[in-house]
């Protein structure tokens, strides 16, 4: 891939990618590292990008996977104060969604043990703040599928947040976290 193309990609999407990485990883420096990894991969692997495979979708996928690999490596280091957020599980559906949107560390923790498609949908909704129509269009899946993925994530999130200990949270998650 010639430099000119990569330069255009960087100037068009670099900042949005940086924001997404920063939102997921929680710091500028880690976001910079993530950007390095994504662009090195772009320049080395030179993926075929065309109308059916837009560049932003590719960048988002690679960046998100990188960020969650980093988060997974850090999960024992970061202390997540579950006690202080447990009450949100008892709120109404609308309040739960709003409160969850304000707790990005918690969303990241919840996303560590979900499948890749759920991760991309939830990150697009909670971090990029896209609506379900836009997510469906970007990920090329149907709107009902996006809604179903989000509902399943939210229902599972309530169960995990309510669990009183990390061990129970893991158990509630089927031992996957």
């Amino acid at each position: 891939m010639i430099d000119r193309t990569v330069e255009e990609i960087y100037n068009t999407h670099g900042f949005y990618l940086f924001k997404r990485c920063r939102a997921l990883l929680g710091s500028d420096e880690e976001a910079h590292d993530a950007m390095h990894e994504v662009f090195v991969k772009l320049m080395v692997s030179q993926p075929k990008l065309d109308h059916d495979r837009p560049v932003l979708a590719w960048l988002n996928r690679v960046a998100t996977n990188y960020c969650f690999n980093r988060l997974r490596a850090q999960r024992y280091r970061r202390h997540l104060p579950l006690d202080s957020v447990r009450h949100i599980a008892d709120e109404s559906a609308a309040s739960f969604v709003e409160m969850l949107a304000a707790q990005r560390d918690l969303v990241c923790w919840l996303l560590l043990s979900v499948d890749e498609r759920t991760r991309h949908v939830v990150v697009a909704y909670f971090f990029d703040e896209y609506g379900v129509d836009c997510i469906a269009s970007n990920l090329r899946i149907s709107v009902p599928t996006v809604r179903r993925v989000l509902r399943r994530f939210l229902e599972r999130a309530r169960v995990r947040v309510r669990a009183t200990t990390p061990a129970q949270a893991i158990e509630a998650d089927g031992g996957q976290s």
Partner: protein, 265 residues
């Protein structure tokens, strides 16, 4: 006590409700320009701080390293294939030689030609990989850049050094404090390591238990180098913002090469 599950409609209303509060177009550029002018400023600031040419300079080294590794694996595979083929050819030549009159000169020439192809490949591989490298082992295990290690881990180092015989290894903490590891003392100078792959540095370094990010830097030089010189250059670079733990450029001393790796503790 487990409260009731919400139905699909309730969740959908909640999701749409939050999105309506955020704005119809999510974080699209148009919506952001209209609703969050500060985001536009942030974007401008991002590109002012890290324009393409600067970003490219910071990733191009990694790209080259990836490409070299890829070339190396292909070359190794091809040379392996070459060895197998030459062994097969040699066998074919040897079998008739035991049953027919020996013609030493023919056999010798053929064998030498086939075997001679391997050295032609080897220098290319070596040339392609002559990138100085700093390898770190935490409590005996090799660790890659970005790994999380114990704050009191015992670190040991190995180097790939080419064209340079001397090295200084030091660490930079998030607050900018710089500690020499090789040499151990601030009054010391670079360590003579010679050239080659996997050169071990004597002894090890026990981390002091401080949490946070630390970047380790190896500065390779052809002649002995005083730690003070490297320390001053690193401190100057830190002040100008060119040398940071997160987006490290280089200490930038003339006639030196650098390799770096960072960890979270």
């Amino acid at each position: 006590m487990m409260s009731k599950r919400y139905g699909s409609e309730q969740w959908d209303r909640a999701l749409d409700g939050l999105h309506a509060k955020r704005g119809e177009e999510g974080q699209s550029a148009r919506w952001l320009k209209a609703n969050h002018p500060e985001f536009v400023d942030e974007r401008r600031s991002f590109y002012e701080h890290t324009p393409w040419h600067r970003f490219r300079a910071s990733v191009i080294d990694k790209v080259e390293r990836y490409r070299m590794r890829r070339r190396m694996s292909l070359s190794v595979w091809l040379s392996g294939l070459g060895v197998a083929v030459s062994a097969g050819v040699a066998l074919l030549l040897m079998v008739p030689s035991s049953t027919s009159p020996v013609r030493p000169s023919d056999v010798a020439v053929d064998t030498i030609r086939v075997k001679g192809s391997a050295p032609g490949v080897q220098p290319a591989i070596i040339d392609a990989l002559e990138v100085p490298e700093l390898m770190v082992f935490a409590d005996g295990q090799p660790v890659e850049s970005g790994a999380v290690i114990q704050a009191d881990a015992l670190l040991m180092f190995r180097l790939n050094s080419f064209q340079f015989d001397h090295v200084i290894v030091f660490g930079v903490e998030e607050d900018g404090s710089i500690s020499p590891y090789y040499p151990e003392r601030a009054s010391g100078q670079s360590v003579l390591v010679g050239q080659g792959r996997g050169i071990p540095l004597q002894g090890g370094v026990r981390l002091d238990g401080r949490l946070g990010r630390e970047r380790f830097v190896a500065v390779f030089s052809k002649t002995p180098l005083a730690w003070r010189v490297v320390q001053n250059a690193a401190q100057e670079a830190w002040k100008t913002g060119a040398f940071r733990v997160d987006s490290l450029r280089a200490v930038g001393l003339e006639d030196t090469a650098e390799a770096t790796i960072w960890f979270d503790k």
